[in-house]
Symmetry: C3
Subunit: 273 residues, 3 copies
């Protein structure tokens, strides 16, 4: 059950090393604490190997990447691989610039990722070497909808099988696959797109979920997606007249803080394909 | 009408490239989303040209500048100029250090800015090559008041004419001029000064407003100033017993999120000189 | 009285230069504003000497350190020492990586610190050259408790005497000593550990308190600790059903914003040893 995956995070308090962008890093730290994990951030190449060694998982997010942090990503990733840690890639903006696309592609070549999580444009860029990313948001033309769900599921399964990673494509409909099974998830609200960094937050939280559930990684990744979407629903239900996206950000993290396994089990909306 | 400028942002969703400080960057991203724009952040020199190419505007904020990001500012600015994009300069702390003053001055020499927005001390530093900036806040002695309004309006008009940019000086009274006309704006509350980054947020939002209103840039810049000040008034009216500057920050962004053109038209307090 | 220390901050508005991590920097800035101080952030080596020269205090926090910011720390620290400014060290993660441990130790060798503030693991690392830091949180085995209070007080007094700095060890029980006297403080709530950066926030605020109270530095440091803990208590009392760590973060900063000297005097829980 998905709820057990959340409870395992709370019971084991996984320490997660994040190399992530400076835009949303505070929210990533707070949502990791909210779900029961423990965050530590470090991107200096001389620091990352020691830091990742004391952690259980590594979350690599390429937003606001720079030459120094890129070196940090490769060194941390190699160390985490050597130690058998969970490693997640969030290819923020892949397709939007040559540096981001090339960095993400090279990371995939040199590091074995446990999970890759992005929007459909970013994942298409990685999978097809193309894509039509518009900034860091997925092209509407690329959105996963009921009309193209079968082909989208096949695409995600194929990329998961080819890459050897669990692949999570998030959007209005979320898909999470290990190459064999695919969770099709319908939690969340469109207003979450008006908050910066809900995807980054999910990547941090997903790393903790997978670390805490070593024998059920696919289910753990899906549980993190459901938890984030459900938090978006719960948070929205608490919005008052005059509240907007800044308050909504707080309410979503608050909802994760207060979520227990039973709530997640009761609220998760998914099917397996 | 100012309200139309806001509606044009919501209708066109301008993508804004921000090279901005790591202190307030999350709030800049969220207020850009709140007003209807779409933010992307990048400061790595190898990344900025690609990123700015897919955007409509570039917001350069020199707070927490470093040698790498300074190079990013020049490369992004040159590319944005070549593409005819809107480019805004927020000279945070100009006058407070030689590096900041020199960087701002050199940026003005090498890049054509559409808008320059700062407090009176920062703008005086740029205009007069002097100024008495105390940290990143304007000197009280330099404040724009009713007593010195005529000379302040003349100063801003002159600097706008000389620089060829729209100049926005914000404080208790805000002045926005293109060299010919000058908006004198009286929205806002003094408590906004107790929140870090309301100026940075305004610069990000103003970039989106100007991008979305290419034929009315002066009015668009003034509309952004009025929207920010009005959001400060609306946000303050929603403060409860025990609330402070952290909640106030959220309420201001929330107020932008909920603001429509009619509200902005009804609440804007300005005169043209 | 501790309350006077807070009032002196509000009356003198000390400008504090922060070289701090990008995870919690926004909250550090906002809590400095909330308590009556004024923050400025700069970590570029070419910028820091000018910036620290116009300030009254310098807050050095080694979280998310990098080679550039480390150079900035040494240059800013040397300049602040030359000018006789208050300088605070927050050795985030000392003991968790060689770079962090070595940087903190070398900073202590080359810069005279007015105050050192950290958790017990970090301070033990500095004092003993060892420690068992787990990430950036103190090891439970190292926690200051009533059972080991006498030895903990002796340890903090000894390290303060040896280092020549006021030493503040924060946790469930906080200890603040100048080598002679030791404040034993019991404000705060355990839920504060679920918010990222309450320690970083305290370090920023403590710098302002010490700057504003040059003749009572020990009392000022203790007052900052009590204020932070009391804000945690007041903030918690305002939490509603469904609120979590993100809202709690706001409520704590809000509580500092609204705190006056009488409230601090009435709520501070401490004894002198």
């Amino acid at each position: 059950m998905l709820g057990t995956c959340l409870e395992n995070v709370r019971n084991t308090v996984p320490l997660v090393h994040n190399i992530t962008n400076y835009v949303t890093v505070n929210d990533v730290a707070n949502i990791l604490l909210a779900c029961g994990g423990s965050p530590i951030m470090s991107d200096e190449p001389e620091d990352v190997e020691d830091i990742t060694s004391i952690c259980g998982g590594l979350n690599i997010n390429i937003g606001t990447l720079n030459q120094r942090s890129i070196e940090g990503m490769f060194r941390a990733g190699a160390k985490a691989n050597a130690l058998g840690h969970v490693v997640l890639l969030d290819p923020v903006g892949a397709g939007a610039s040559a540096l981001r696309t090339n960095t993400a592609v090279e990371l995939m070549e040199k590091i074995k990722f446990t999970v890759i999580r992005g929007n459909i444009s970013e994942i298409k860029t990685l999978a097809l070497g193309s894509g039509t990313t518009k900034g860091v948001d997925a092209d509407v033309a690329d959105a996963v909808t009921d009309a193209n769900l079968d082909s989208a599921v096949k695409f995600v399964k194929d990329f998961a099988a080819k890459s050897g990673a669990i692949v999570a494509v998030t959007g209005a409909i979320d898909l999470v696959s290990d190459g064999t099974d695919c969770y099709v998830i319908r939690n969340g609200r469109p207003e979450m797109g008006k908050i910066t960094g809900t995807g980054c937050q999910l990547s941090g939280m997903m790393t903790a979920f997978v670390v805490a559930n070593p024998d059920n990684k696919l289910e753990a990744a899906a549980a993190a997606v459901c938890a984030m979407g459900l938090a978006g629903e719960i948070g929205w239900s608490r919005m008052a007249e005059g509240d907007g996206n800044s308050t909504y950000r707080n309410r979503i993290i608050d909802a994760i803080y207060n979520m227990d396994g039973a709530t997640l089990n009761g609220g998760a909306k998914y099917e397996l394909r």
